[in-house]
Symmetry: D4
Subunit: 251 residues, 8 copies
């Protein structure tokens, strides 16, 4: 399309409809995306059905309503994260869609609903308190067309529970490991599998857990090679990273 | 193989060569790897030519010499990281091999030398001071059979230098971004590409750089979605993570 | 005026109306401002119409009411920062004036209303969550007679949006850059312009954002030369610093 | 010039020497600086005589020698910061120039030697231990064509020494305040003058000085409005910020 | 008295009323205070009228009521610190006494009401937001028989206000300096006077004030010699330290 | 003995050899250990052969020589920790004894050489870099009469190696777990055994290992119940804690 | 039992009821606990009456109700920690049991109620504000069959109160020391007794207490040898560690 | 004197030797010390024989030599702190004087040698490793005319050693307590005496001692009321604070 516009511009110039100076001015004013840099940011979404993502936390109900209305008009899939129940209720009344109170996410399918095309992505969760972050990751991943499996409550202090799921671990194309407290689970899993492992520290714990810092440091210093880490409680980011990995082949 | 051994054991039992109690004792004493858990840790190396990795920093020249001797005997590829020139010299005199003084790595090819089979992996480096970490990543990646490209000195304060390399960024199957100081480069690159981005903070900087902490925090809080992070100066880990991602299809 | 008073005192002394000891005593007791040290602190305000600034956060509605009453009596322009809506409502009922719920500021013009005389100052904002801090900066700057332009939602993960505003960046006499999370925007802008850049970290973010610490460290370690920084969320301070820079020529 | 090249390109296109597709490809490949974004980064230097700045710390003597040789060939003024005496000696033997052992800077004038054209900039130093940072700032500022004045050893514990220099403080167009330990000096000076104040924390002190962190926090929390801060020991950055402020009028 | 009891014991032993073993057992069981170590802890209070101090924060209204009742029965002066208005109201209804809502203290005089006998102690306060801590210090000091003077709102950014009070500073036998934000005031005062200076950092400020940490570090690194520091917001502790200093001569 | 002395004193008193006042004075001057408080500190050593422990790090060779000479004269077992080879050589030349260069300990047996009487204590070590701390623990434990077993290089990233040693883990009466980096090993072991587990973080690692802080936080936040922790690199302290546990029954 | 099941399996195999492949598959699928690794985790509870422990904080009233119902059905003793009064009320209405509002614990005895069989364990508490943590420790310990003694309000600033309890300290088989603020009490007690000492830092304090960090650091750096530490406010963990120590002999 | 000069000025004015404007100019230019503010800083030294204090650490041997020469010419007592042996040797060769290698201080008496006039000041030291800091405090105190007593190696883990020195503690007019590791000693001493207690944390310790931070936090959070604290390793500052306290009566 941009190419088309550019061609129009150039044709107008060649045909004398634009002076050299006028053309130069137009070229310099072109948004950079129009000449190739950010081309990847657009169009891909509609073609692939990836969602528009909105951070719900810092936006008012009015703002969210307007944003969702605009996107549904364009047929986009929508994912709102970190959304409280009150705002979610309002969005649902106006636009339908689903709200997950554990993961605190609102989702709405557009013209090209997400479907599981890449994966499988396994999301492992150390304890039940880590579930909200794991759920945010799972819902995000599904909106990004990943096939998701989940494994809950397999902390390192009961290592046999984890080992008993060895075959599921081996089958995964990528693994997100969600853990708070000492954050040791990614190290153990990283030693068991060859697949990419994305570690998500959670703010679960008290005292010297320091809101997830202990888990984060544990994961960054993992003795298992090649573990990567995202921000504390960032389930969304981990799923997005998994999508960067698993969707590669299809573009 | 283990399966074979198990079958022998069971046959002996069925044939009366082992009492029930003897069999039970044998089964309980079996290393866990023998019954499937850690099977992935072994054999894959010889088959694929992946290297044995040794952390050179905390080992004496004598210890390193013995380890390298043992591995060359088994025909393994060898990678020693964080190795100072003195120890490297001694290893080279005894075993040959290559030493890279910038990346501080020693490499030695065995029966199945590494060859570029997966990728391409692009390693981007914010400044020349970050080169040692980028080099460690590059050498590690090549030992893991990745095809590596490099892009140096494209910090965010001169954003046009980075944008001028847009096509190389788009071509990469995965990107490692190495940056110290404020660690902003992964955010910019993450916004430009859809591929996996692994960020490596370096200890480059002074004062409030706090030995790489500023860069690490910058990367963990990236406004670009789906950036993952490894420990400060951990070029090896970033390359290993890239190998987890890029080698997936081949196993 | 002080000079006048001093002259009166000295004339009285020379005329014998004061003994030497009496004069000495009077001189030693003079407030220091009267002999030149802090002269710059006063009078300039009325002459130039600069506002009296009140930190609203730690003061009661009664205290604020009394302060505003006193200042309006003297015809001063008034700026109250970090003011919640309840206290603002009371001030407005009694004294009129304007309250901005985003920037949480109350303003009231006196005998010499502020007017845009210096600048232009450009205030750039990485994301919509950073708006309250940017707004506080904008309102403060306008009360200090600066001409203010604003640029919103141009984070580094979508670098093309920023580059598209290149001419506005080049035109600014000074730029305040407001950003949370990794705080990378000032580095990019500092590389694009030659004007003074004042960076304001915000407490936007979660987990390892550590209430703005990640952004602050990013800004202090900027690879762009000559970026200066103020305290987290300190929009007021950034605007005041801009006024120190831009009002220079006029005094 | 770029404009000239663009015109050539467009003329060739209009004249049929380039097809539309060929032209499009050429346009997309143009470095971004060529279409206006980073135009300010170049040419200005030669015109104004600003120096090329090299961070000496992380470069070898060979690398520095090569860089200096290249720049002298282009007639540039050169500033090397954080340079130890050994490397400096070698540079001087080959290229002449001056080395300041306190500020640890090497300077060499090219075709357009720096001359004091903007200012005056006053550099205030709390104690003699802060001198190396103040000196780096002074030499950098002079290389950037600022007129520099210096005031040493006027810490807040002997406030009368500072107050005795009141007239010099009032005269300055901008002030850099260098202080370690508690870093209180910028607050006092910021209360005395209306000019821009750039605070530089130094790593002077021990124990809870935490390598300059105490001073940095003191400066960020200054009760004087509109103080801005740079990284610990960053005399270069403070001078560069001052140049952003003082050179404004001339561009 | 203890001496008397011991004598009784020994007399009983010499007279045969106790066997050697019985005496040994009794001696070993004696509370340590009875043999001289902690003698200073007791009796001094009634003799000097010093108050019993109760930390109100972590105690229930019932517990406080019981404690106050017990102490009034013994005629003691009472000081309850960090007490909220609800609990204070209940104490006042039952026992009378005074509650200060700014300093959050409850006081009740017993048989020997406090009277100003030592000092004068000057309590200096940087800003109005620091008043609650200064007030706690003042009330505590008065309960400890110190004569207290107060000086408010003399921050270092308006140094002339402080210098104008020079004579009051010189007159003080000891000075408590209460300051938040950068905590620079004790350095300036410590340079002006020879008397003991006790610095109290307050949690006033935001962002990098880190709840008083910036002020604390500033005070610990004061360039004025011989400044001592207490915990953040610890007005009580500063007053108690002043009493240790000023009451010395009288014991 | 003290009892004997006390009896002599009391007999002298009863017999009139001491006046009441003289006796009182003598009693008050008695070291507190003599009347029962610290009785446990002494005598037990000779009876049980426990060593005198000397921290070698901060003492000169002369001081150490004198201390060892004094203790050998009394027939004591001696343990010097954190001793460098130079000082050790001198001690050995004068006094004989053994020096362990890995654990950096010097030991010398006296009249009652240590012998393995309590235990077994198992010391588990995550990696070879953690060996110096594990060795210090082992040597200390043996000097305290514990029977010691050792298990090396069983990090959590290769969990099967640890699980293969299950029976040795189950047999131990107490376990010391030494680990750096993420410090996850104690959590896994704590989940496998019911015995006391003492975790020792080591300073092994780089970057965000922060000199052992990451491991320490991991251990304090262990999801295995009832793990206790000692200071970073404190092998001595862990062994001493084990001795407090295992020697209990024998006193 | 597992042994029995295994025998059945093997008998079926020998008798031809299972093929070799079928048996292999069954063996590999066996939960690891069944072949000896985690055997200690189970059965012991019913035999010894140890409780099932539930962390109440992050669970809803519904979830807790279901868990308690399930466990009472199996006759288990139950301990719920960190439970607020509202949830406790609901549990009590449905299941009976006891709630301690200070320690915030709910307990319910099953078929084998806890009884004091090991110890005595002494729990020492520095101040009344530390009581909730000490109470959690006491109740946990009693549920684990320990005999518990308590000693309250014996802080180091009144050392004679502690020394007066010397005999109780000497009698204890293990001691838990709970302290906030500077956390010095374990050092003093560790110097007085030979028994195991487990230190629990509490979040009591303000300002630089940093939520228990000051106490934690004090305990980790104790000058008394062999003190071990658990997480801040972790009364449960300390009691569990004591049980690991004291129950040893009985298994 | 200043008064004299002022009188001269005023007389000249009254006599017509100065115009009003000339006088005003002269008055405004007067150093502030001349009109009373900082009068206390001067003259007192010669009258009382207090030393000139020089921080030796950051000065060259040449600089120190020049400073000492200048001060001996004026008959001043001299104290140089933090001086290494090499520089000390040079000072002694030129000027005589004494060097203490433990406290790292150089002292030289002038016309009015220090003599013990105030006190006694007791300096208590937890362990032998803390001696350098205690020694710096002792030598500083003696140069400030304080009478000094010392008590070494009385850490809280052997509380009886401290209690045995009760009478010396009671006798002191002020106490400096020097301690590293957990820094608990000031709390115990503060509970035993009524005199002022100044706590000095030292950098003794390892791991979580964090270079004295643990001790500092322990002291700031002391449960003994009225303890004040100085910077880590700041023996000089503690002695100076003691002089502020003890010299009070004599001025």
């Amino acid at each position: 399309m941009n190419r088309t516009e550019l061609k129009k511009l150039l044709t107008a110039f060649r045909d004398g409809g634009l002076s050299t100076d006028e053309l130069l001015e137009r070229l310099q004013a072109l948004p950079f995306e129009d000449i190739g840099v950010a081309r990847i940011d657009h169009h891909r979404e509609l073609r692939q059905g990836t969602p528009e993502v909105v951070l719900g936390e810092s936006k008012s109900a009015d703002q969210l309503d307007a944003i969702v209305a605009a996107m549904t008009a364009r047929g986009r899939n929508i994912l709102v994260t970190r959304l409280n129940p009150e705002k979610a209720k309002r969005l649902q009344q106006r636009h339908g869609g689903d709200y997950d109170p554990v993961g605190r996410t609102f989702t709405l399918s557009g013209q090209a609903p997400p479907r599981p095309r890449y994966g499988p992505l396994l999301i492992v969760c150390a304890g039940t308190s880590d579930l909200p972050v794991a759920r945010e990751a799972a819902i995000t991943a599904r909106m990004l067309d990943l096939e998701v499996e989940e494994l809950v409550d397999v902390g390192v202090a009961g290592i046999h529970r984890l080992l008993a799921e060895s075959s599921q671990l081996q089958r995964a194309a990528a693994i997100i490991v969600v853990a708070g407290m000492e954050g040791a689970l990614p190290s153990v899993i990283g030693g068991l599998v060859a697949a990419p492992v994305i570690a998500v520290p959670t703010s679960v714990g008290y005292g010297t857990a320091f809101g997830g810092l202990a888990a984060l440091l544990g994961m960054l210093n993992s003795c298992a090679s090649g573990i990567t880490v995202v921000n504390i409680d960032n389930g969304f980011g981990a799923a997005f990273a998994a999508a960067r990995i698993l969707r590669r082949n299809d573009e």
